[in-house]
C-alpha cells in the first residue's frame, strides 16, 4: 500500500487551498513521508487541530494506505 507524493499534495490542497507544502519521501517507497505545511487556516488552531485538519484532508488515508507521514504545520 502506498500513496504517491502528488496524490497527497492534491488531497491536501483540495481542503487547504492556500497550503504551501514541502513533502519528502523519506525511504523512497511512497509510504514514509515527512511534510511541512504552511497555511492561514492553521491560525488560531492548536497543534492537534492543525494536524487534524491535514488528516481530514487526507480523507481517511492516514494510517491506512498512507503508513507514515510526519507532519510539521506552521501558520502563514
Amino acid at each position: 500500500m502506498a500513496l504517491p507524493k502528488e496524490e497527497i499534495k492534491k488531497l491536501i490542497l483540495s481542503s487547504i487551498p492556500d497550503a504551501v507544502i514541502d513533502i519528502k519521501d523519506l525511504m523512497g517507497d511512497n509510504n514514509h513521508y515527512s511534510a511541512n505545511i504552511k497555511s492561514k487556516m492553521f491560525n488560531g488552531l492548536s497543534k492537534i487541530d492543525q494536524h487534524k485538519l491535514v488528516y481530514k484532508a487526507l480523507k481517511g488515508k492516514m494510517g491506512n494506505e498512507l503508513h507514515a507521514l510526519s507532519l510539521n504545520t506552521e501558520v502563514k
Binding site: 492537534i48 494536524h51 487534524k52 492516514m62 491506512n64 507514515a68 510539521n72
Partner: protein, 105 residues
C-alpha cells in the same frame, strides 16, 4: 465494558498514559519507540498500553480521540498528541513545562 469506557478509565486512572505499538522495552514501531524514549528520558512514570494485543483497543483509541495513528499520549486525561507533536513539545520545552505544571516531574 465498552472499549470507550475502558479507555476513559485508563486515562483517568493513570497520570501519563501512552497507547503504543509494543512496549517501552520492546517497541514495535519507530514512532511508538520515539515517544516512549522521550518519557524515559524525562524520567517520568507512565503507563503504556500495547494496542497490538487488542484490535478493539487499536481502533477504539483512534475513534476516541479522532486521531488516525498510534502512538497517542495522554496526560491527566487529556490527549497531548502523537509522535510529531510530542517530539516538537519535547524539543521546545513545552512538554517538560506541562509535566511540571501538573506536578508529574
Amino acid at each position: 465494558m465498552e472499549i470507550k469506557e475502558k479507555i476513559q478509565k485508563l486515562i483517568n486512572e493513570n497520570n501519563i498514559c501512552l497507547f503504543m505499538k509494543g512496549t517501552p522495552d520492546a517497541p514495535q514501531c519507530g514512532f511508538s519507540m520515539a515517544v516512549s524514549n522521550v518519557l524515559k528520558h524525562l524520567k517520568v512514570n507512565f503507563n503504556s498500553i500495547n494496542v497490538l494485543e487488542d484490535e478493539k483497543m487499536r481502533q477504539g483509541i483512534k475513534d476516541f480521540s479522532d486521531w488516525p495513528t498510534i502512538p497517542q499520549l495522554y496526560i491527566k486525561g487529556n490527549f497531548i498528541g502523537g509522535c510529531d507533536i510530542v517530539k516538537e513539545m519535547f524539543e521546545n520545552g513545552e512538554l517538560k513545562t506541562l509535566l511540571e505544571k501538573k506536578k508529574l516531574i
